[in-house]
Amino acid sequence: MAARSRPEDLARKARFVFQGRVKRPGATMKEALAAGRTVIVTVDEVLQAPETLRHYAGKEVTVQLRPGQRVAPGQAAVFFTNPWLFGKSVAVQALAVQPPVKKARDAVRMGVERDPVRTLDERDARAHVESADVVVSGRVKSVRVPDAPRAVRGARGARATAAGATLQRPSEHDPMWREAVVEVEDVHKGSHTRKTIIVRFPASRDVMWSEAPKLRPGQEGYFVLHTPTEAETPPPAPGAKGARAARPARTKAAKAAAKPPVYTVLHAGDFESFTRPQALQALIRASGTPDLS
């Protein structure tokens, strides 16, 4: 018999976790019926949810069970699920169904009774920090156009205009790269010994980049940073001072001589302002130490 997964592990994989009671086989929406293995479940308590499912307590939803999963009408359980269909009702796919014991509920909530959306936000923030190489807090000292013309102007599509300037071919998805010089106050994760750090961000408001943080001088907050891959690193502008250091160094000597990488922030969770603290600040404070490593 396979060991039962731990609720805290399941909660990392499931966006919508709730305690509910099985009503009967079937579906709350016709679109879900054809898939089979569906049951109607009344949601008694939402434990973890995205914003759109915050108010689902008391509602009936369709749960598609995995092959081999068994439930009976009237059975109460904690359902670890991911949303599948949104229509007149909601259909979700079950990762696991576990007995509705306090231990399981507490594990999902990470020990604190709170808003189910906040629970998911904090869990997402934890995962985001875990995947980061460096987390710092600091203040944006300045924002500039990067040195390397290719990083901003784009090598493709450039042509000389009558005035001799370079005109970039228009694209709705042009990121309009900018670099923020950030004065580092604290290092919460990873290794960073310099007083400043360079953070590249797309200033464009196009849908492709609208979620990415838009940094402004004077902003203070937390920066969740991932070491750029070679593909993410702009090549140097011809003759640009120190441009070579922008690529990750490969040898030990080169690494020692190299300038720090230019980090790129693209995810909404890559920056959290001190003035609008959310899950990241709570996570750092809950750790009791500024060090998240």
Binding site: P50, L85, V207, A231
Partner: protein
């Protein structure tokens, strides 16, 4: 005294036998407008802009649609909207293999196969040499209502690709009989010499692993073409392509373009596709319908607002062919440019000789409008949708006096047009969170005599905003003009939603 028979609703819809000279003979039709956000997402406040639509010609009850709609769960595949009852109700089905949402998406059904095709810019965006390089994915779903993610038929990387736009059909004769033929027009930065207007196409798109050919349809070269590249396909093998070819400009605000139409007569199956239409001026493939038009690409500075009612401008184009047998020589073309100091004007023209000559003047010119969309039905009636900003206009400024008005106009002769107002909504609310605001395109499709379409707009549940009527799936209160969350109590902020419409003959 003879009794006058009572007027019935159907009698009122009957066309008059006698009509004023020059007026189109069109029935008023039955208009249906539906807010597509499902009830279960009543709490959502996303800006679901840039919608697209595909009606299954073999079963018009089946409709797929898309918008910049993220997966409501905040993770997983991007969703499409699915209807199996002709657009009356909608379900969100996350089967598009892209991280939470796409950066562009359009859809098309095979004519008889029931297979759904999509062209997307996939997220997350890939990087090459530090450059963000949007990649094109061409996708297929054999069952668009199922849970199986769409299959990736083509994954094109490189220098980047923009705004893929799908047209699909199914062949009827010869080597293509019964085979899905798919054209995905896109702006491909990989093309040499700036000939970026491109059509990826397959004449066996329904095969297990179909091959797609990539063809630049711009022979003139230069600094590239504008993002909107479109195609129109006729069952007899005629395929038109339309694009905006850059010819000048020293900044994004001063860019100039030729409006170009190309044609192929055999589903692009020959050795030199899209070369059937020569320009009388330079003798090259691609008829230049309008020359040296000013089309500013704005905003051109970081942080600037969209110049037209919060919307950006810079590339809008639509093309449609008459689907009737023997009528593939009739083609309509719409694009937008600036004719005065600050306007952005949509122009509509037509050709009845396979694109060789074009109406010398605009059939319609719509000032301060975006998102032209065209379709022609089985009667030869042209359907023309667009979104126009009304009220006193100052570039980059939007006030309570400005409204976005979505029109759907029809004409049986290209001269006289009726006009349905589908929506007239405040242009200053909600405030834009990014760009595009309403989207860089909307869509109209004809199946038989009926027109189907989609647009995005402010979702305030105010009946006065929808003169042709509207139905909301999401919780709302028309009397209070308020959206409500799934609990039916909690107020929800207004946002941008996709709206489906259907106009039956």
């Amino acid at each position: 005294m003879p009794k006058t028979p009572p007027r019935t609703p159907s009698a009122r819809k009957r066309p008059r036998r006698r009509r004023a000279a020059g007026r189109p003979l069109l029935t008023p039709g039955t208009v249906t407008v539906v807010n597509m956000i499902p009830q279960s997402l009543s709490g959502e406040t996303n800006h679901d802009s840039e919608p697209n639509l595909a009606v299954n010609p073999a079963n018009p009850a089946q409709i797929a649609a898309s918008a910049f709609t993220p997966n409501p769960a905040g993770f997983g595949n991007a969703p499409i909207f699915v209807s199996t009852d002709g657009g009356n109700t909608w379900v969100l089905n996350a089967i598009v293999p892209s991280d939470r949402m796409t950066a562009d998406i359009s859809l098309g059904f095979g004519r008889t196969s029931g297979k759904l095709y999509a062209g997307i810019i996939r997220t997350p965006i890939e990087f090459v040499n530090g450059q963000a390089t949007p990649r094109l994915n061409i996708l297929r779903a054999n069952s668009f209502t199922g849970a199986t993610p769409m299959k990736v038929l083509k994954n094109r990387r490189g220098e980047g690709v923009d705004q893929p736009y799908v047209e699909a059909t199914t062949g009827t004769t010869g080597a293509t009989a019964g085979k899905d033929i798919v054209f995905v027009s896109d702006n491909d930065f990989n093309q040499p010499a700036g000939r970026t207007a491109t059509i990826d196409h397959s004449r066996k798109a329904g095969a297990t692993s179909p091959a797609f050919k990539t063809v630049s349809i711009d022979v003139r070269g230069g600094n590239g073409d504008a993002p909107s590249i479109r195609s129109a396909v006729h069952a007899d093998g005629t395929v038109y392509g339309g694009f905006l070819h850059m010819v000048g400009g020293t900044s994004w605000a001063t860019l100039r373009y030729d409006v170009v139409v190309v044609r192929d007569d055999a589903f692009a199956g020959g050795a030199g596709p899209f070369a059937a239409l020569l320009d009388p001026g330079d003798g090259q493939a691609g008829r230049r319908v309008a020359l040296n038009r000013l089309i500013p690409f704005l905003p051109d500075q970081q942080g600037d607002p969209g110049p037209l009612g919060q919307e950006r401008i810079g590339s809008h184009l639509a093309i449609a062919v008459d689907p009737r047998p023997g009528q593939s020589g009739t083609v309509y073309l719409a694009w937008a440019d600036r004719v005065g100091a600050t306007d952005y004007t949509v122009h509509l023209r037509s050709s009845t000789d396979r694109g060789v000559t074009w109406s010398p003047a605009d059939l319609l010119a719509i000032t301060n409008a975006v998102n032209p969309a065209l379709a022609i039905n089985s009667d030869g009636t042209v359907g023309f949708a667009y979104q126009q900003l009304t009220g006193a206009f100052t570039p980059g400024v939007v006030t309570a006096a400005n409204r976005w008005v979505t029109h759907f106009r029809r004409s049986s002769n290209g001269v006289s047009w009726n006009d349905l107002i589908l929506a007239t909504v405040p242009a200053n609310a909600p405030p834009a969170r990014g760009l595009p605001y309403l989207g860089d395109y909307i869509r109209v499709q004809a199946v038989g005599r009926d027109f189907y379409g989609i647009f995005s707009a402010n979702n305030t549940p105010n009946l006065a905003n929808f003169p042709s009527g509207v139905r909301f799936q999401r919780n709302h209160n028309f009397a209070l003009q308020r959206l409500l969350d799934i609990d039916g109590v909690t107020p929800v902020d207004i946002s941008i939603d996709p709206f489906f419409f259907r106009v039956t003959a």
